[in-house]
């Protein structure tokens, strides 16, 4: 049995990063699925692992690791298997730069839109009292606010507009980057590709006005190359919802 357990939701955004990194390294792990829409991440069992109540988290023996991008770096450093960081120091800098840009600037905007159009409507139908109790159990105050907004559909027009601006700009910057290099930040497949793929794999479906064969040929070429990796197929097969299904839809329509 593996001494690694990964607590994750769908192969998507933050959860998908360590899933795919482990898969690429060929490191066996015990998968512990956390149903985010059932608020599993705020239940006592999981809070005992990560008191912040966010996913993903990974245990390796008695070590507990959190923060998806940092977990990926740990996985790459700690285990044998293909090196997922480029050999050149300036390339490594660029890989780290892109991951931060995604984690802190672009990713939150993807999330806000995703929560307003997908997460909120999925959860909203439940019994209001049950939902109120679930929100009260959320440890991080900023997450309580985010969940309330998602459930009530009360994101402000200005903040949504700003998120849409960032998504459009971020896609344009990624398209330009992939015109310069084969992969994000370098000419080899790296943690930056794993990071960014997890938030962009469904763009042609979710943002057809911004991304697609005509508008972003470089992104499409890169998506296709990453889609074809065996580790990606195996990771996306672990998904249980429609999110993961979108992967095969795009895969089919890609050329």
């Amino acid at each position: 049995m593996s001494d690694i357990t990964l607590y994750h939701w769908e192969p998507n955004a933050n959860s998908g990063k360590p899933m795919l990194a482990l898969m690429e390294k060929g490191v066996p792990f015990t998968s512990h699925y956390i149903d985010m829409l059932a608020f599993d991440q705020h239940k006592p069992d999981y809070l005992a692992v990560n008191p912040q109540g966010t996913i993903p988290a990974m245990t390796h023996g008695d070590r507990v690791l959190v923060e998806s991008t940092a977990i990926m770096e740990y996985v790459n450093d700690a285990f044998a298997g293909p090196d997922l960081m480029p050999g050149d120091a300036q390339d490594r800098w660029r890989v780290r730069w892109w991951m931060k840009f995604m984690d802190q600037w672009l990713g939150p905007s993807f999330s806000m839109i995703g929560w307003s159009v997908f997460v909120g409507p999925m959860v909203r139908k439940r019994d209001p009292e049950e939902l109120a109790a679930a929100i009260d159990r959320i440890p991080l105050p900023e997450r309580r606010i985010a969940w309330r907004k998602a459930i009530n559909g009360s994101f402000g027009e200005a903040e949504l507009a700003e998120s849409r601006r960032r998504v459009a700009l971020g896609i344009a910057l990624l398209e330009a980057e992939l015109g310069k290099r084969d992969y994000v930040g370098s000419d080899s497949y790296s943690l930056a590709d794993i990071n960014i793929f997890n938030s962009t794999y469904s763009l042609p479906l979710s943002q057809p006005d911004l991304a697609g064969r005509d508008k972003t040929p470089n992104i499409m070429r890169w998506l296709k190359r990453v889609y074809q990796r065996e580790a990606v197929a195996k990771t996306w097969a672990m998904g249980r919802t429609d999110l993961a299904h979108r992967y095969s839809l795009i895969m089919e329509g890609i050329d």
């Binding site: 959190v66 740990y74 120091a89 300036q90 800098w93 660029r94 802190q104 960032r166």
Partner: protein
């Protein structure tokens, strides 16, 4: 082609990178990295000539900070620039053990994501906003004209107009105090440096906290381990050489628009 480090006054991210550079030894010898002081609060960072790749400068999450230029490519984000320098030098500022390395990265993220935006907010309000407010409309318009990022530009405007909301003030004080608490707790076992051995975390943390001592003294009261650590970092020759680059003699009071305060949990 020459490698040049453009840096602001040795405070915040500029201090961290200058100290890492001095530790690396890459500032001396025939291929030494040249240092050029720029005035971040004059918008100098957006007027660096001869760049061929500007993405990282234009969209740095860190906001106004140091820029390392190699072969025309602008490299930003102080932690990553410090890692770069350390790795090129085959240096010792990052733990080799994977878990210890993860701990250092996590530490630096807490500083850059939570403490840095808060310190930049408080520092700029106390020791930067007046200078922008005193500018003529034309001069200010000229200053911000080359800023590519709309959200960074907005932070410049907010600074000039004195838009420092109370909620952000409360939040920022709590975050700086939280960072000091974290430092104090980390050092309680008697270690000299935050991660055990000296690392990038010491410089990044020192850079952001150094100027907070005067602005938020209550956060540092009864924090003996933190006080001793601040003095220890300051005494380090690399930090002394970084501080010696100050043009104003008060580097701890030099601020420019920094990272944004989290807009989404």
């Amino acid at each position: 082609m020459a490698t040049i480090l453009y840096h602001g006054e040795p405070n915040g991210p500029s201090l961290a990178v200058l100290a890492a550079l001095a530790e690396s030894g890459l500032d001396t010898g025939p291929n030494a990295i040249a240092c050029r002081a720029i005035d971040l609060l004059a918008g100098d960072r957006h007027r660096i000539a001869g760049l061929t790749e500007t993405l990282a400068l234009d969209f740095a999450v860190e906001g106004e900070g140091p820029v390392l230029v190699i072969d025309g490519e602008a490299m930003t984000e102080s932690v990553f620039v410090a890692q770069y320098l350390d790795e090129v030098a085959g240096g010792a500022l990052q733990p080799r053990d994977a878990y210890a390395h993860w701990q250092m990265l996590m530490w630096c993220r807490r500083i850059t994501e939570r403490c840095a935006p808060a310190a930049a907010f408080l520092g700029l309000r106390a020791q930067g906003a007046d200078r922008l407010a005193a500018m003529s409309d034309d001069d200010f318009a000229t200053l911000v004209a080359p800023i590519v990022s709309e959200d960074l530009k907005q932070r410049w405007h907010d600074t000039r107009t004195g838009a420092f909301p109370d909620a952000a003030d409360t939040d920022s004080r709590a975050k700086v105090a939280g960072a000091v608490d974290m430092v104090e707790a980390q050092l309680v076992d008697g270690r000299d440096w935050l991660m055990g051995p000296l690392s990038i975390a010491d410089f990044e943390t020192y850079g952001w906290l150094m100027g907070m001592v005067a602005i938020l003294p209550e956060a540092f009261a009864d924090r003996p381990h933190t006080a001793a650590w601040l003095a220890r970092v300051r005494a380090r020759p690399s930090v002394q050489s970084a501080l010696a680059r100050s043009a104003t003699g008060r580097p701890e009071a030099a601020w420019a628009p920094g990272p944004e305060i989290n807009r989404w949990g």
